[in-house]
Structures are given as structure tokens and as C-alpha cells.
Amino acid sequence: MPSALINVPARAKRGDVIEIKTLMSHIMETGYRHTASGENVPRDILTSFSCRYNGVEIFRADLFPAIAANPFISFYTVASQSGKFEFEWIGDKGFSETASASITVE
């Protein structure tokens, strides 16, 4: 049961620089570890994260095995208009999760 925590300010003034914070639950298994019996633990990581603001992509990141479990990603954008932020995480083993948050810009 993957779960995500999103923090987007509910309201902002037009032109404000706002911080967006996201936390996604994921084990981020590197693929470099072995079990006690010597078998390789297959890689299972998030590979991509993106954020769209009213349909326009404003942030994208590629993720790699060295990133810790439960990746926390935060970034800034300019509040230009009211609407919706859509977040998407894609990873190994067909992992795909989405989340969204709304903002009112005055």
C-alpha cells in the first residue's frame, strides 16, 4: 500500500514563490545487496518523478539507486493561477502512483 504525503500551500498571492514538498513511501532497494544465502536482491527503485501544474510540466527528476528509502523531493515554483498540481512517481516492477493537490491563487 504505497502512500504519499504532499504539502502545497492552499492559498497564495499571484507571483508568490511557493515551496512544494512531497514524500513517497518506497523501499528503494538498490540491487547491490545480497541475502544471507548469497542471492542477489533485485533492484526495486523509483526511477522518475514529475509534477504538472494545470497540465504543464514544471518539475521532473530521475531517481537512482543511491537515493534513500521513502524519497523526499521539494522544489519551488511561482504561483501563477488557481488550479491543480498533479504528481506522478514511476518505478521498477511496474510501480506507478499519482497524487494531486489544489491551490487558490488570488
Partner: protein
């Protein structure tokens, strides 16, 4: 005269070493939080960056989902955890009437599962048990630890204290030798801390996961090269109980973040 002086000094040294193994005075008690760097503190304080909140979120889902042959959810009896579970974790481990001994929060949840939900108990350190425990304990955040208020717990606190003071393992150390006598020093570059369990279950960056107080205790016992007790062992519960009684009055931080 010189020998008399030597004897006096030796006697002073002996009494000094006895005095060392004492409890930390109340005004000097500090949560492990205060030993951390500002970045890790900020991580715990912000509910979006604290990874423990992911377990709290999952715990809320589990609280409301039906389980077992009785097809009951926790919420069917206890309703809204925000009011019914407020302050509960501050009293654990608590005395269980039917068992005649203290149980910790994980054991209480599992007893509820087996008796009222007629479900299989959740495994220690499983994602589900940690999530439910974190969700329940979260409802007491900021409230003072009240464990030991129940007089029936007295003998068990004493047993826990005895274990805490007991030297054991190949390194021949007791908990007290680090956490009472040397908490202002460092071990391999890391602060030793006073060992107040106010943030459990907590997210350790080293574990990359949430973990229970018993996991932490077992790691410490392995560290002094002693044989760790199995999860749920009465000895571990008594040790938990003593640690909580030692932290009475300190605020609950669940879910804490530690390095």
C-alpha cells in the same frame, strides 16, 4: 600516614564509582531529539518530511479496515482514534488483568486482534503492526509520559531497572554504564544520549524504516555482545516499562526521527 591517605583515596574512588551508576537528575533529562543535528530535527518537526508519517497514514487506513473472522475494524469499537486513543500510548506498557503482567502497545493491539477481531496476530516489526502502533501513539503526541501510574506495575518496573543496571555480554556492560554515566559523551562519533524512549515507533535513518523500541533494545543488546531476547519477551517489556517510567513527564514525540 601515607598508607592511611592511600586507603582514604581508594575508598573515595570506590564510592565515586558507586555514585556514578545513578539515575539522571530530573532537570538534566533530555530527549534524544536534542542530541540531533538541526537538519534531522527539522525532518522530524515537519509532517511532510517526517517519513514516520507514512506509517501513521497507513495505520489510519488499517484502523478503519475490517479484519478477522469477526469482520470488525478497530474503529467499530474504538470509533475515532483522535479522541479514543488520545493519551493511551503515554500509559504503556500497561498492566493486563488477564495476563497478570504488563503488555506493550504492540502486544495490546495484537491481543485486540486475536480476541475481538478473531484475526491472526501481526508479526513484530511487520509494516502493519508498526503502522497501527504509530497511528495509535501519534494520538498522544506532546502529552507527558504517564507510565507507572498503576501501582500493580511496581514489581515489573523494579525488574526492568535491575536488567538496566545488570552488566552482561562479552563487553560486560549494562545500559546504565552508557546511558546514565556517559550520555554527555560520544561513541564512534555519535552522541550516546540518555535513552528516553519518547518517540517510538520511530524512523531511524540507519534502518531506512520505522522500528519499535524492542528493535532498538535488541540492537543495543547485540552491541554489547549479549544474546538478545526474542521480540515480545517479558524481559524486554519490563525494560521498556522501566525506560518509560524513567522518562515520566517527558512529551511523546511519535513518530520520532533518529540518525
Amino acid at each position: 600516614m601515607r598508607t592511611v591517605g592511600g586507603i582514604v583515596i581508594a575508598a573515595l574512588l570506590i564510592s565515586a564509582s558507586v555514585v556514578l551508576a545513578t539515575e539522571i537528575p530530573l532537570p538534566e533529562r533530555r530527549s534524544g531529539f536534542s542530541f540531533m543535528g538541526s537538519a534531522t530535527q527539522a525532518m522530524q518537526n515537519d509532517d511532510t518530511s517526517n517519513p514516520g508519517m507514512l506509517w501513521v497514514l497507513d495505520g489510519e487506513t488499517l484502523w478503519n479496515s475490517k479484519a478477522g473472522a469477526a469482520s470488525k475494524a478497530c474503529a467499530d469499537c474504538h470509533n475515532d482514534a483522535r479522541s479514543s486513543m488520545k493519551g493511551v500510548a503515554a500509559h504503556y506498557p500497561a498492566f493486563d488483568n488477564s495476563l497478570g503482567r504488563p503488555v506493550n502497545l504492540e502486544q495490546r493491539i495484537n491481543r485486540c486482534r486475536t480476541t475481538h477481531q478473531q484475526a491472526t496476530p501481526l508479526a513484530y516489526e511487520s509494516k502493519e503492526l508498526l503502522a497501527l502502533t504509530a497511528f495509535v501513539a501519534r494520538q498522544s503526541v506532546g502529552m507527558p509520559v504517564m507510565t507507572e501510574a498503576d501501582p500493580r506495575l511496581g514489581p515489573f518496573v523494579d525488574k526492568g531497572r535491575e536488567l538496566y543496571m545488570q552488566r552482561q555480554g562479552q563487553l560486560n556492560l549494562g545500559c546504565t554504564n552508557c546511558h546514565d554515566d556517559n550520555w554527555d559523551k560520544r561513541l564512534a562519533g555519535s552522541p550516546i544520549t540518555q535513552g528516553h524512549p519518547t518517540g517510538y515507533p520511530l524512523y531511524r535513518l540507519e534502518w531506512q524504516s520505522l522500528g519499535s523500541l524492542q528493535r532498538r533494545l535488541r540492537a543495543c543488546i547485540t552491541g554489547i555482545r549479549a544474546q538478545p531476547y526474542i521480540y515480545g519477551a517479558p524481559e524486554l517489556v519490563e525494560l521498556e516499562l522501566y525506560l518509560m517510567s524513567r522518562a515520566r513527564g517527558m512529551p511523546i514525540e511519535t513518530p520520532g526521527v533518529r540518525p
